[in-house]
Amino acid sequence: MNLRSERVRGWIWQVALLAAVAGLLAWLVGNTLENLAARGIQVGFGFLDQEAGFAISQTPVPYAPGDSYARALVIGLANTLIVSAIGIVAATLLGVVVGVARLAGNRLLAGLATAYVEAVRNVPLLLQLFVWYGILTEWLPPVRQAISLGGVVVMSQRGLRFAWPQAHAGWAVAGIALLVAIVLAFAWRYRAERRRDATGSAPPVLPVIAALLVALPLAAWWLAGAPMAIEYPVLRGFDHRGGIAMSPEFAALAIGLSTYTAGFIAEVVRAGLLSVDRGQVDAAKALGLSPGQRLRLVVMPQALRVIVPPLTNQYLNLTKNSSLAVAIGYPDLVSVANTTMNQTGQAIEAMAIVMAVYLTISLAIAAAMNLFEARTRLVER
């Protein structure tokens, strides 16, 4: 064995490192087991089957305090995913608008957009959540003097309530028909483009798609019995009942996350649009492309390449930031896991579950992003 060889030295270092890490882990695990035994705290995931005993305020899936801890954690996860999904959509829309506004020729608009971005990015998200929560609980009227917009939307300190159609098979059928219509719309557009490539003239695309998206669900709804019953929120006893409810905690979290992340997305979009070489735009104009075509065929594909990686990073940040729900009382995964931890004493198992879930979400988004990057990588000569 040649000790002077760099390869051999490298392997010796690695073996030593591995041994050190393994030793450290063994020591930590040993301490942990010893401490747990000394304190009489149980180990293992058996607690997941035990009765939870506590109530949760937002339950997208039915839940009662008699259900198991496992079910409570699933509710927490569902809440996290729901608020993250809504936050991502809202933040993207708002962020794109603000990002484009920052590049506008109108200095007032650009100035307002810049002020918005600078205001939102430089203040901690936690404090912004407190402000939103404070506004929603203190400035909205009490339940008995709720603001009612035609009986359809009711706003009060207890949250927002929307009138919602009563559950009926007809709506489910209409929903399925809508999905079918979307698929057909894509198929039609594909076919129209093939026809145009082949013969030079294309059948109308937009009108057909519009017709499909409207007519098919409508027909399905009609055929399934045309259910018209709508549930309106009604004040009964302590609070309104009926319709769909959105608690102030959820609203504060969704609004706070969206406005905060939109500030960052605006910067990402702006950087992306600025990255497209001016020559590209001028060449597109010289070719006689309309502004819409210019945007769709020349600017966006190039801008997207620059935008998408940091954008997915922002989506990831938003999902992780949803864990701040624990500070304002929205029952997301971390919040429910925290309560579980306090009631059972099994901190390690609860935290392990939470970290595993977030890791899975992060790795999934990162993998999707890698796929996208691979597909859009510049193929250079």
Partner: protein, 373 residues
């Protein structure tokens, strides 16, 4: 034979490019027209925005400034102005609690000085003239001074870390979070790029696992589970645990930033250094890292800004940082409880000033390094 002029004019350019391809005409009125009223749509937009501002701004200005209660006034003045003016008097009233939290009342000049020292350290480091070998020495002396002021001993009364609170805690968590995470991040970045598979696997595992989980879970782990991992009876202070958690967290993000910087260094530099016969660490220290860090400094400043904001999360493990101190200062006082919004706005202002200053500094740095290149 002359060719006829084109039948249709060129398509009308859109807003963005007209700014770039048409040179602005001289003279202030023309510039104003260009900026606000360049087209019909623009004019409508400008007027609509002005109308919006006109409806909202006066009321906001009244509430925030004109009708507000400034200065150290009794709560009765705030009660009188309730609904019309903000009660900034709450800031004067609770200033010491907000800044220093649970620190013993008579000794509060010490954290005041410590705040000055802790702000001076990064400000000095930001000044390019200070980028010389004396800088680490300044840091060591400054840190010792700050800790002596906060903790006591050698002539000052001892104050245990469990009573530290407020702005000094936020500054410490941020500054030492980044400072102590930096060497760790460097090792992780180099480890991730190294050819040794074990080292690479360990680095990637640390970086990806820590980056994939929220900071709150790391803080919970440090606060709740740290003692379980240590031998029985061994415990360290709550504040130190939070600091270590932050260091572990920040190191993973900084490692990625440094890795980006390392990737920006052309391969030729590595090869040339090797050709000159430099061993690994001298190559890194003399050739690669100076270039890599020059590229990486703006994102590192951004990480600093992000960490400054993220320290507010220690609220959930009941550590008295600035945000928590501000919250507690009004929540537990029966008389001033109603004015929590003003206190919250004050804390947001402090964070905003810090972050905005740092982001402008970051932009200045980027421009400067672009010029140097």
């Amino acid at each position: 034979m002359t060719t006829p002029a084109p039948a249709s004019p060129l398509p009308r350019p859109d807003r963005v490019s007209s700014r770039s391809s048409r040179p602005p005409r001289a003279g202030l009125p023309a510039r104003i027209r260009q900026a606000f009223f360049a087209s019909r749509r623009d004019t409508v937009l400008t007027l609509a925005l002005l109308a919006l501002i006109a409806t909202v701004a006066p009321g906001l200005l009244d509430w925030l400034v004109l009708d507000a209660v400034w200065g150290p006034q009794p709560v009765a003045a705030c009660e009188a102005a309730r609904g019309q003016g903000a009660c900034w008097a709450v800031v004067w009233e609770k200033f010491r609690v907000m800044m220093f939290a649970t620190y013993p009342f008579e000794e509060q000049w010490r954290p005041g000085l410590a705040i000055a020292v802790l702000i001076a350290l990064p400000v000095l480091s930001a000044w390019p003239r200070m980028w010389n070998p004396a800088l680490p020495g300044v840091w060591v002396i400054g840190s010792l001074l700050a800790f002596w002021l906060m903790g006591g001993g050698f002539g000052l009364a001892k104050v245990p870390a469990s009573q530290w609170g407020g702005l000094p805690v936020t500054l410490m968590l941020t500054i030492y979070g980044i400072g102590l995470a930096f060497p760790l991040a460097l090792l992780l970045a180099l480890g991730r790029r190294s050819g040794l598979p074990v080292l690479r696997a360990l680095s990637i595992t640390w970086i990806e696992v820590v980056r994939g989980v929220p900071l709150i879970t790391v803080l919970f782990m440090a606060s709740v589970m740290f003692a379980l991992f240590m031998p029985a009876g061994f415990t360290i202070d709550q504040l130190l645990r939070a600091q270590v958690a932050i260091i572990v967290f920040v190191a993973a993000y900084l490692a990625e930033v440094i890795r980006g910087g390392l990737q920006a260094v052309p391969k030729g530099q590595y090869e040339a250094a090797r050709a000159l016969g430099l061993p690994y660490w001298r190559m890194m220290g003399l050739v690669i890292l100076p270039q890599a860090l020059r590229v990486a400094i703006p994102p590192i400043v951004n990480s600093f800004i992000a960490l400054f904001k993220d320290t507010s999360l220690v609220v959930v493990i009941a550590i008295f940082d600035f945000a928590y101190a501000v919250k507690k200062s009004v929540e537990t006082d029966v008389v001033w409880k109603k004015y929590f919004l003003e206190a919250l706005l004050f804390s947001m202002l402090v964070y905003w000033i810090g972050c905005y200053a740092m982001s402008r500094y970051s932009r200045w740095l980027e421009q400067r390094s672009a010029q140097v290149r």
